[in-house]
Every structure is written in structure tokens, then in C-alpha cells.
Amino acid sequence: MAQEKVYAIPNITTPNTPVIFNPDICNGCNQCVEVCQIDVFIPNPEKGKPPIILHPEECWYCGCCVNDCRRPGAITFNWPLQQRGYWKDKSTGKVFRA
């Protein structure tokens, strides 16, 4: 197997993936880039491709990028691990986590 090239890059910030794009559904319209008040994303250099996540640690989890996307399934929210909520079934007592 060919060795993958390893780059020297700084640590990745936390969180780093506030959203997950589905490249099969996303058409790169960049609406999410525009509604984000923080500029978490930049347009992909390749037209028609999903945006690039550039400033993930500045996200304030408002959800507007996902709420306002007109292509269902193109972008899904990805809560950082420590922020995922819990709930409990009232009749069985079983605990779940998002």
C-alpha cells in the first residue's frame, strides 16, 4: 500500500466538524456560507462542491446553516461529543444519547 503523505500541520481546533456535508446532495450553492454570521465556512475552490470548514472553533451552534439549506440532507449538524444531550424512556428507564 502506498504510504500516504504526512504533512506537518498544527493541532486541529475543537470542535472541528460542526457540520457534515453530503457531497452527493450538496450542490455548492454556498447559501450556508452566506447565512453564517461567523464565516465558519469558505466556498470550495472547486465550483459545485461543498464549502470548506475554515473557522470551526468560532461556531456558536446557531444552526442557521443547516436550517436554511434548501437541499435536505446536504448538510447535517454534528454536535461536538461533549455537547450531546441525554434522555430517558419514562416507562423503561433506558437512557439514550443524541
Binding site: 454570521q37 464565516d39 466556498p43 470548506i52 446557531c62 444531550g85 443524541a98
Partner: protein, 647 residues
């Protein structure tokens, strides 16, 4: 392949900056009314100024479509006593609200008189405020005729804590019917509608432009405001705006005490763009500010957890009973019809709960008992309130997708298990420019609205005060002569703002931010004395003199974050100065001086003001109700008020 490092691997180089770099370019724009901040107040100001016939430019750091605290949504149109279902008189309600010490009587009176008109205008623009689809027939508070949905909030008094205010009978409501002063709304529809209306009215919107300073006539501190400088945070282009009147609506500062710059979106409650720029630029221009010494303790989102997840017991979880892990009810208000929307336990109940947790009487964790609710109330809370509230929409969508069913499942709450000490997590407590009955600051040509005002209210307050400031600014712009800008002042500001891009080494914005936050934590927190406060000023001066000159920014976005740090630094200095000026403690201001321990002594029940005069700090004071009779003064200043805009 959507992460930066994916692209690096694919292309063998980091992506190019996606926007043209235009540091060398400059634009000059002229307008009658200039609005700083395109949030709720800013959009309303722009709309009402444009309706008065003024030319309007609106400058926004993000994109007006969803920017600001109210961008994602709003579920409570609070304090709207002029609505047809209300049982109290707007003036009496305003007076009631203004009676709490250090409130903003002027803003409150405007809100109570005019936010129902604003709401009806919101509907004209395409905002949804009624249950027109009959989704919630049978929910308590729903009115079949108007299809308005009244919220239980404030149905007795203007308070979240039961018993914190004396029960009272309003003259206008002698039979003590429910006050009905808060309306549930579909606020996710609001912000895009506001932007569209701005565009329809010909407001020139400058998105992704950060305003960095106010320009004054002759460049003189304290003179009339004649414009602003700014820059595009994507391209770096410098902008000079020349205006006859300006409305400052850039809201507050939520990260001054916040050490960590990662994950900060959770802790700050407001977005990262809320950095006190407005107060900092007003201060440098010479405006008098008040209540700057007040701080608030952040109860929300502390300890890296987002309490909007809270299951019950905060903001939009109306009518949800909090229970312990065994299903036992807690003496915690349900924020519902049973307790007039109260959301926090009384201190005695809180003590009881704490003790119960220690003794095992109440098992952790707690849960919001959604299944116990009547179906219609549950739907109103889950789908309407949490669905429309704001950042909660994505939260409930996430739960829904993951299989949470509110008719069967209890939603976990994080009180106690997330830690109970919020003391480090502070926020600036809503100080701002001193205002008159036109919402004008002490500087000619500068009006103020929304959370930028001292002791501001909420979304409908921002809408009503924005709408009011916009029309007053438009009137003023029609009376004054051409603004003259000082070239020297512009050049000085450009040199200040662009210094960080001239360097590629030194100190980066995140470290600077942490340094400033640490100084505030050490020297301006619960332990306040004259010498600690002075040490704070010394530390910030050291940062200003020795570290700011090393600040570097590698692109226009980082330049924006760097300049925000400079706002934070100035904001910190103002807070320290105001804290030195108040030589007494105060419960309402969350302000405790070890060297002046007497709490709220009568001689200190007044607004302390601070301002810069010829570069020197000058403290002053104003009486607590400096606005005089609310009703009379409102009427005297609004003889020509037209009510709801026709079409």
C-alpha cells in the same frame, strides 16, 4: 473533503484565500442615516428611517439575513401590553418595569407603547405571529379570534422568580386577570423578512463590514458624529461612511471574561461577533456611558455546556415539570400557567433542592417531564417555543432525528451535574451610552438602540427602540447641514486598524483575548478593591503599550478578530474606570466593593457616568429616574407618531 486539512492533502497546499484581497482600496459612501449593526434593532432602525424618506446605509459584520442574537429566531414577543388581549395599560406596565432599580425607563416606555405596532408591521413584512394553521387549537392562552397565542410569562408580575416582587394589583387590571403581556411568535421567520424589507425600501446594505470607529466633526472628541470607518472582513477593503445621523445598534459584549477561544460559542451565549465594539467606539468618540460597572454572571452555557438543552427550567421550556431521576417533582417553577411563567426557584427552594441532592432526597440527574404534559401544551412547547426560539431549533431537530419522542421520553437537565460555580463566567452587564427621549446619546448625530442601550430589554425591545431611533435619526438628518469629515482622523484610524496586517509575527488574537480575559478575571470579579481595580488598569495599559503593538493578523477575518480584541480591551478599561467611580456596593448591579461594603446606600442610588474629555476620564452622575414622568415625556416627544405603517 470539506476540512481544511483534507484540501491540503488533496492539493498539496492550503486553499487560497477565497476572496480578493483589497487592503489598499478605499470606498467612500455618503448617506443621510447610517446604521451600525444589522441585527434586530439595526434592521428596524434602517426600515423606519427609510420610511421617513432618508437615504440609509446599514453596516453589518456578518450577513444581515441571520446575523445577531435574534438572527436564528425568537419565540417570545415580551412586554407587549398594547396587544388586544392584554389586561394591563401599557403606561402602567412600563412604569412597573421601570420601578426596578437601574432599569432604562425611556427604552421601556418606548417598548410598551410601540412594540405591538412593530409586531403588526412584522406581520406585514412576512413574519408569522398567529396560529393561522390552527395547529394549537385548545392550547391555553390561544385566542380563537386573533389566533394570537399568549405565553404564561409575566402573567402576574414582571419577574422570573416567584415572590421576588411584591404581589400587586394594577389599577388597569383591578380584577387581577392574567396580564397577557407576552405573545408566542414564529420568530425564525423574522430576520429574513427584515432584510427583505430593507432591500425593498432601498436601504444600502453593507454585509461583512466591521465598523471600527465613529468619526466626529473636526476629529474632536465630544463633537457631532459625522460618519464611521470600517473594513470588509473578507476582502480587507477600507470603508469611510459619511452620515448626517448614525444609529449605534451593535449590541453588547459577551466574551470579556471568557478565557477560552475554542468552544466559546457555548459559553458566550451570544455569538463571537458580540465584542463590545459599539461601546468602545462611542467611548473613544467622547459619549458619556453609564452602568458600565455592572456585571452579570453567566448562568447559561457555563462549564462548556449549553443549558438550552436543559430539559426544563429555562427560557422556552414552558409548562415542563422538572423531576428527579426517580420521577419525584422538584420545587422548581414550571415556567407555565401554574406559576405565571416563573423560571427560577426562590432562594429557599434552591437551598432545599441543594440539600436534597446532598442527602439523597433528590436523585441526580434531573429531567424535564414532557410525557406528563397535556399533549397540546407539549406540542406548543416543543414545536413552537423550542422550534422557533433561536439556536434551539437545531437542538430539537437533532433530538427528533435521534429518536427522542417527547410524549414518551424525559429530557435530561444538567443542573448540579455540570458544576454549580459560575463565578468566573461573567459578562458585561448591559451598560451603554446615556440617552435622552430621542434615544440620542450625549453626542449630536448619534442615536442608540437595542442591546446597545444600557439596561436593554429583549427582542421586541430591540425592535421598538430600533424603529424609534431610526425615525428620530431621520428627522435629525433632515435638519442638519452637510457632515464634514476630518481626513486626519480617518488616516489615524486607518493606521490603527491596519497595523496588525503589517506584521506576521508577535501575538495572535486568541492569546491577546485570553490575556485580557485573565486580567478581568483577576482584577474585576467578585473581589473588588481600589487597588485591585487599579492593578487591572495597569495590566490593561501594559497590554496596550507592550503587546498590542505586536498584534498580527494573517487575513481580513483574523484582522476582524484582532480589532474585536481591541474593543474588548477598551471595554475592560471602561468597566474598571466605572468600577472605581462607584464607591459603594450594589446588589442590583452585582457590584461588590470590599473597601466600600455598604450595599445600596441611599446616597449611591444613582447612575454613575463616565466619559472621555480631551483624552481624560471624567466621571459624573444622573438621578435614577432622570427621564422624568414616562407617559408625559413620551407623549411630549412623539406628537407626530403615526402608529402602524400603512403598507
Amino acid at each position: 473533503m470539506t476540512k481544511w486539512h483534507d484540501l491540503l492533502k488533496e492539493e498539496g497546499k492550503p486553499p487560497d484565500w477565497p476572496y480578493p484581497i483589497r487592503y489598499e482600496e478605499e470606498q467612500e459612501i455618503e448617506t443621510d442615516v447610517l446604521v451600525i449593526g444589522g441585527g434586530i434593532a439595526g434592521c428596524w432602525a434602517a426600515i423606519s428611517a427609510a420610511r421617513k424618506g432618508a437615504t440609509v446605509a446599514l453596516v453589518e459584520k456578518g450577513d444581515t439575513i441571520r446575523s445577531g442574537a435574534g438572527g436564528p429566531g425568537c419565540d417570545h414577543w415580551c412586554n407587549v401590553p398594547a396587544n388586544p388581549l392584554s389586561n394591563v395599560d401599557p403606561d402602567e406596565w412600563a412604569q412597573h418595569m421601570a420601578e426596578s432599580m437601574y432599569s432604562n425607563g425611556i427604552g421601556t416606555q418606548i417598548q410598551c407603547r410601540e412594540d405591538y405596532d412593530a409586531l403588526l408591521e412584522m406581520e406585514q413584512m412576512g413574519g408569522k405571529l398567529r396560529d393561522t394553521g390552527d395547529e394549537y387549537v385548545g392550547a391555553q392562552g390561544r385566542d380563537e379570534k386573533t389566533k394570537f397565542m399568549i405565553s404564561p410569562r409575566y402573567t402576574r408580575v414582571h419577574s422570573y422568580i416567584p415572590g421576588s416582587q411584591k404581589p400587586r394589583t394594577f389599577k388597569s387590571n383591578p380584577d387581577q386577570k392574567l396580564n397577557n403581556v407576552v405573545i408566542r411568535v414564529w420568530g425564525t421567520t423574522f430576520k429574513p423578512a427584515l432584510k427583505k424589507e430593507c432591500q425593498r425600501l432601498g436601504v444600502k446594505i453593507y454585509d461583512r463590514v466591521m465598523v471600527t470607529s465613529l468619526l466626529t466633526e473636526g476629529g474632536i472628541q465630544g463633537a457631532r458624529v459625522v460618519g464611521v470607518t470600517g473594513f470588509n472582513n473578507r476582502t480587507g477593503e477600507f470603508m469611510v461612511f459619511k452620515s448626517k445621523a448614525a444609529v449605534l445598534a451593535a449590541a453588547g459584549n459577551f466574551s470579556l471574561w471568557m478565557l477560552n477561544t475554542e468552544l466559546a460559542g457555548y459559553n458566550t451565549f451570544r455569538s463571537r461577533n458580540s465584542t463590545g465594539d459599539g461601546v468602545a467606539m462611542a467611548w473613544r468618540a467622547g459619549a458619556a456611558l453609564t452602568l458600565m460597572e455592572r456585571t452579570g454572571i453567566m448562568m447559561l452555557g457555563t462549564g462548556y455546556k449549553h443549558t438550552w438543552y436543559g430539559g426544563a427550567g429555562d427560557a422556552s421550556y414552558e409548562n415542563v415539570q422538572l423531576v428527579d431521576a426517580n420521577g419525584k417533582k422538584l420545587p422548581w417553577p414550571t415556567q407555565g400557567w401554574a406559576d405565571a411563567g416563573a423560571m427560577r426557584p426562590t432562594p429557599e427552594d434552591m437551598e432545599k433542592i441543594s440539600r436534597g441532592v446532598q442527602t439523597g432526597e433528590y436523585a441526580l440527574p434531573f429531567y424535564g417531564d414532557f410525557p406528563a404534559m397535556p399533549d397540546i401544551e407539549r406540542r406548543a412547547t416543543w414545536n413552537l417555543m423550542l422550534g422557533e426560539e433561536s439556536t434551539t431549533k437545531i437542538i430539537i431537530d437533532t433530538y427528533n432525528k435521534a429518536g427522542f419522542d417527547p410524549s414518551k421520553h424525559l429530557l435530561q437537565n444538567y443542573n448540579f451535574i455540570e458544576g454549580t460555580s459560575p463565578s468566573q463566567w461573567r459578562t458585561a452587564g448591559g451598560g451603554g451610552p446615556v440617552l435622552d427621549w430621542d434615544l440620542k446619546s450625549t453626542l449630536d448625530g448619534l442615536y442608540v438602540a437595542g442591546e446597545q442601550t444600557f439596561s436593554a430589554g429583549d427582542h421586541s425591545y430591540a425592535a421598538a427602540t430600533g424603529r424609534y431611533a431610526g425615525r428620530k435619526a431621520a428627522d435629525y438628518s433632515q435638519q442638519v447641514g452637510e457632515p464634514k469629515i476630518s481626513k486626519e482622523q480617518v488616516a489615524l484610524e486607518k493606521a490603527r486598524a491596519y497595523a496588525p496586517i503589517k506584521r506576521s509575527d508577535g501575538i495572535e488574537w486568541k492569546e491577546l483575548h485570553a490575556g485580557i480575559a485573565r486580567a478581568m478575571q483577576y482584577f474585576c470579579s467578585e473581589y473588588k478593591t481600589e487597588s485591585l481595580l487599579n492593578m487591572g488598569l495597569d495590566t490593561l495599559r501594559d497590554i496596550e503599550e507592550n503587546h498590542v503593538p505586536r498584534l498580527y493578523a494573517l487575513d481580513p477575518h483574523k484582522l476582524m478578530r484582532s480589532l474585536e480584541d481591541l474593543s474588548l480591551l477598551t471595554h475592560g478599561q471602561i468597566i474598571l474606570q466605572a468600577s472605581l467611580a462607584r464607591k459603594a456596593s450594589s446588589r442590583m448591579l452585582n457590584f461588590f466593593r470590599i473597601d466600600h461594603p455598604e450595599v445600596d446606600p441611599p446616597e449611591w442610588n444613582k447612575f454613575v457616568t463616565v466619559k472621555l474629555e480631551n483624552g481624560k476620564v471624567k466621571a459624573g452622575e444622573l438621578p435614577l429616574t432622570y427621564w422624568g414622568n414616562l407617559k408625559d415625556n413620551y407623549e411630549a416627544h412623539n406628537k407626530d407618531y403615526q402608529g402602524v405603517c400603512k403598507g
